[in-house]
Symmetry: C2
Subunit: 437 residues, 2 copies
């Protein structure tokens, strides 16, 4: 059979990785896909640099629309990132009946509903394995591997940059700022690291996973997001004393008549496999009602791990593109006419356990006041610890682990605690999940 012909939009990290894999494993990939997959054109920003990278093997230009429109391009691979012009280019490809592969999580989280509706109308495939957790085939697992299950919850380490920072803070006792600087030196964090460290990137990916797991639209605008920039090495140490590690988790969970969609630092028991996923690695823990807990682990970013997922999507499209569109795997796991509009639970109604750190004057009665405030709101205490923070200080640190309670009750309790004369600093509060899968 003739080769299937690919146009790349972007030849940076992900684009370069995709290109390299298609070249290096060409034969192996063709043995799987049933025909060769050729990159015929790429749109790039820096022509000279791109030419040095790929030589004369493919057509290069700066006009992305021209690649989308090219009659010899069967599949458009969007790896430029950002919202525009990526959105318009993908919609243009769809309108022309061309299949699309993309790694653009921000775009899908924000405009996925529109893009998949257009793709469905036009009968083309839009594949996006690389958008979540890099090389881990988690989209395929959720969309196809676990279709028997009512998915109960997902908890994922889905941002490698923040996981690297947290790992360094724990291993070296480094401050957040120092660990971030190291991540930037190593190329794991960008000059403006906001998306990674504030949980926004993780919320994009979580939004996509929730849509597939629960059969709901993309609801990024309702995601709760809290990053790691406020964490201290001190809290990581205290957590360790209780047998916990702190990870930035993206969590979605069915709850009552809706579902939770939240990204925040989370204490998890150190014996859980996912607590031991370190450095830039990613892992996603999925609990289904039939299968029980499952874990998917691998590289969450980087040229070739991302390229691995892009190329897997290309093979999927190549293998199945002749199928009638009604008998393909649905883009978002559920049939488009069977999506439900389960609401996202506001964070104030979410139930979790908590780690609290109070800085207090070292005098009697403080603990009595604090436990009364918690008790009045039916927040029960699982463990408590009192520590002299550093030599010379007149204050003490009181660390409390609570049982599960509703966020609103905890917010109220913290306000009351902070109003106590004996409490000398804002209360540090980090959510805690036992993930007893």
């Amino acid at each position: 059979m003739n080769p299937i012909r690919v146009g790349l939009l972007g030849l940076g990290t992900a684009g370069g990785g995709t290109y390299d894999i298609l070249l290096r494993n060409r034969e192996e990939i063709a043995r799987r896909a049933g025909r060769e997959i050729h990159v015929v054109a790429a749109a790039v920003r820096d022509l000279a640099k791109a030419r040095r990278r790929v030589g004369d093997a493919i057509r290069l230009g700066t006009d992305a629309q021209a690649v989308v429109d090219a009659p010899d391009v069967d599949i458009v691979v969007e790896l430029m990132g950002g919202i525009e012009p990526a959105r318009s280019l993908i919609l243009s490809a769809i309108a022309q009946g061309k299949h699309v592969v993309t790694a653009n999580k921000a775009l899908l989280a924000l405009h996925g509903n529109e893009i998949f509706a257009e793709a469905h109308k036009r009968g083309v495939m839009v594949a996006f394995e690389a958008a979540v957790a890099g090389g881990i085939p988690i989209i395929k697992a959720l969309r196809e591997g676990l279709t028997a299950n009512r998915i109960q919850w997902i908890a994922g380490i889905i941002n490698g940059t923040s996981n690297f920072i947290l790992t360094r803070m724990r291993d070296l006792g480094a401050s957040f700022a120092d660990a971030l600087a190291e991540a930037q030196r190593l190329g794991y964090a960008e000059a403006d690291p906001t998306f990674d460290i504030e949980g926004i990137d993780a919320a994009h990916k979580l939004t996509i996973m929730a849509a597939i797991a629960f059969g709901v639209p993309m609801r990024f605008e309702h995601a709760y997001t809290e990053g790691i920039s406020g964490l201290t090495a001190q809290d990581i140490r205290y957590a360790a004393e209780f047998g916990y590690r702190i990870k930035l988790l993206g969590i979605c969970r069915r709850s009552g008549a809706g579902f939770e969609l939240r990204v925040h630092p989370t204490l998890i028991p150190e014996r859980r496999l996912i607590a031991n996923v370190d450095g830039v690695m990613n892992a996603v823990l999925v609990r289904g009602d039939a299968v029980g807990p499952t874990l998917f682990y691998g590289a969450g970013a980087g040229a070739e791990p991302t390229g691995s997922s892009v190329v897997a999507d290309l093979v999927d499209v190549t293998r199945t593109h002749t199928a009638d569109p009604d008998h393909r795997v649905p883009h978002l796991a559920f049939q488009p006419d069977r999506v439900t509009d389960l609401p996202v639970l506001p964070i104030s109604e979410v139930e979790t356990a908590y780690y609290l750190r109070l800085r207090a004057l070292d005098r009697p009665g403080v603990l009595a006041d604090v436990t009364r405030i918690l008790g009045d709101r039916s927040i029960s205490i699982e463990a408590m610890l009192q520590r002299q923070p550093e030599t010379g200080e007149v204050h003490v640190d009181v660390i409390i682990l609570t049982h599960r309670t509703v966020e609103a009750a905890m917010v109220e309790a913290i306000a009351k605690v902070e109003a106590l004369a004996s409490i000398v600093a804002p209360v540090v509060r980090i959510r805690l999940e036992r993930l007893d899968a």
Copy 2:
């Protein structure tokens, strides 16, 4: 659309789990599959028992062939196990153009080449996610999720029974016999546990994974198999002193002009995630050249985890059965005309590191003799430890970890060591893999 109609061969653990899931999650599954999936008939051994379980909802009988032949059965689900009549029934379904889902690893490992050839000829799907690692969607990951990669090696804990036994031996210091008896009491091991504890079941599953990973035929007859019945709690403790755990691993690896296919107890560094997979849980570590290391973890057996994979296959078939057979995902990941006949490397040519335990007379010169024998065969020592095994004994235990060497050299060295007058018992030798992914 009309429901798709399923005939079950077997309504035991896996069949019952499949039935329960299809009933309980009927609506959720239909939202994914695009139509309902109904069990219309089942062939069982004990009619009265089956009737008590499923009531009057479906047709029950003892004649499996009648279920295969029934005009209202679109998909045949084989969950009876064993070679015959399962093989003939599956071939009969294929001949009638019916799609098949099976969890029968022994059958596929032994007769998969025949079955998939027939299925290809007839243009029907034979799906088998449940045959390997229970609820973990590892077949899909290898066949579709990692298609970009040249798979370098796979190492899996793919037998829950033996993993449970090893976990109890480590946690309680129990003997193999006691841990096996406990597994039998809990229903994790059968009255005749041979397949599980001697690595045969794991070799079946490994054979299937190797076929998909490397694009080779099923080669079960060349698999090397060594079980856990010879392991002692003593060796598990010594391994721990060096920072290792012992797991029964199924390993396949590209090597030179062939590939390795072997199941045996293996020391692995305790810091690896897979070393912390305990009890009846399964995990498969896959290394691809593009993605790097990935790990897939979950329940390896049980009614609903197995049913989870069976139903996922049913959804796959339902979603894609109208596709022209040349544009489906190939059964074994590679196109049937692109399978290669890479040979299985004999175990004597396999290279691993080793754990050795020698019981020796406590007198000078023993270590010199042993290290000379190893050195003569270029086997280098990574660590050595000498221990008084128990009070009152006149012998010492010498534990040696070696660097990687070819098995044949090690076999020769061990024979020489055992011939020494100062060595009073057979040498215990367990392979060691660092899995530095």
